[in-house]
């Protein structure tokens, strides 16, 4: 069976995307660690679930960053290793988004969420255009999550809530940019730039929390 990996974006951008992903992974890791700290402090399961969601997202981002870096460095690795990296990114991101979706929607029952994960995961992995499916599924889930953060900002009216809200709205937009890129081949860099700004906002939000 032939395995094909499509590398997107201009050649000069290879490596830069890995740097962006490294920064995103760092921001995600810090949120994961803070959530675990919050869980240890309160023993409240919400923080543990939140930490698990962000831990999955962090691992996924590391998987993608490493795969992109291997492509950039033109290392002679087995294509399966690259596929594993991208598959880990997609799988772990979907898990984390489903968990975040459940948490923000305050869903109590597990069975519908497991079903949602399996449906989205299988739909992405079995799709002939897996990237398109992945970004579309992510866009849908992120739109719901971002909606929660927009509502939360209007309730709390704090700058930190605004940063979080802005970050998730931009993350949803990033998915839209990647979908547009697949269809038109022009928005890869714009998608990555929005991605970077989204994680910078998340990073700033955490800095504001830590300054308290």
């Amino acid at each position: 069976m032939a395995i094909a990996i499509t590398v997107r974006g201009p050649e000069w951008f290879f490596g830069v995307d890995s740097l962006f992903e490294g920064f995103a992974a760092l921001a995600l890791l810090l949120i994961t660690l803070f959530s675990f700290k919050a869980y240890r402090f309160t023993k409240d399961k919400r923080y543990r679930t939140f930490a698990i969601a962000f831990a999955f997202m962090t691992l996924g981002m590391v998987g993608r960053g490493v795969s992109d870096l291997l492509v950039y460095l033109d290392m002679q690795v087995h294509p399966l290793a690259l596929i594993a990296g991208y598959a880990a990114y997609m799988g772990l991101t979907i898990v984390s988004l489903v968990v975040l979706f459940a948490l923000t929607m305050k869903a109590r029952q597990r069975a519908p969420l497991v079903a949602l994960f399996l449906i989205t995961f299988v739909a992405v992995m079995l799709s002939s255009s897996y990237r398109l499916s992945f970004h579309t599924v992510s866009l849908i889930l992120l739109a719901f999550i971002a909606y929660h953060f927009v509502k939360n900002y209007y309730q709390k009216k704090s700058l930190t809530a605004l940063l979080v809200c802005g970050s998730f709205v931009l993350l949803a937009l990033t998915q839209a940019a990647f979908i547009a890129d697949i269809l038109r081949h022009k928005l890869y860099i714009i998608g990555h730039l929005i991605h970077l700004v989204a994680f910078a906002l998340l990073f700033l939000a955490l800095l504001r929390v830590l300054r308290k």
């Binding site: 402090f41 309160t42 923080y47 939140f50 709390k156 930190t160 504001r208 308290k212």
Partner: protein
């Protein structure tokens, strides 16, 4: 209608009241500031003393509560936690 305070909120209110008074507070002031009944305050005070978040001292013949370093650390952690929880709407 105001939301019911969690145990952690009550602990925060008590420690914050002590910090607000410069680190030492009279039991009657703490009772007033923490908005608890006498019985409940006593329970909380015993718990906070047990966890070394506050301590009892004698100041010019008057019994007072002081905020310990651990209590101050708890307040700092709680403030961060509240900011985090509010920011993510958890």
């Amino acid at each position: 209608m105001t939301e019911r305070r969690t145990k952690m909120d009550i602990v925060y209110d008590m420690l914050h009241a002590i910090q607000d008074k410069g680190g030492t507070i009279l039991p009657t002031h703490l009772l007033y500031k923490s908005n608890l009944s006498h019985g409940r305050l006593k329970q909380y005070v015993n718990e906070l003393k047990g966890k070394a978040l506050i301590a009892e001292i004698d100041k010019k013949g008057r019994m007072m509560f002081i905020l310990t370093d651990q209590g101050a650390k708890f307040l700092a952690n709680y403030r961060q936690l509240r900011e985090f929880t509010d920011a993510f709407g958890l």
